[in-house]
Symmetry: C2
Subunit: 65 residues, 2 copies
């Protein structure tokens, strides 16, 4: 399975937000909706900094505004 782990980069540290993410989708309010392989969901406020699919990593960055 090719799900990824989502991290939030905050103050130079990557914090694990959610494991086994399948779907990443923008919401109208500017957040991102993450859906895990078991249907669990989480909302992230921030922007995508980098995705490494082969390494199963999606890194979000907190927005300072």
């Amino acid at each position: 399975m090719c799900e990824a782990d989502a991290y939030l980069l905050k103050d130079g540290q990557e914090q694990l937000l959610m494991e086994s993410v399948d779907v990443v989708e923008p919401e109208e309010d500017g957040t991102w909706r993450l859906v895990g392989i078991f249907g669990d969901q989480k909302t992230v406020r921030g922007k995508i900094k980098r995705m490494n699919l082969v390494n199963h990593r999606v890194v979000f960055e907190s927005q300072t505004e």
Copy 2:
């Protein structure tokens, strides 16, 4: 390997942009840089519409502005 295929949704049609994408990264000019597993690169102008990692799909949407 968990690379994905990148598509561009344009006029309701999904066109294959690039196969075997590893890295997806925003550029300062608002485009996205895609890097394939063999190091090949492509730049996409648009926004991410949806990613399905389990299905190996990243869909971009043309921006109308």
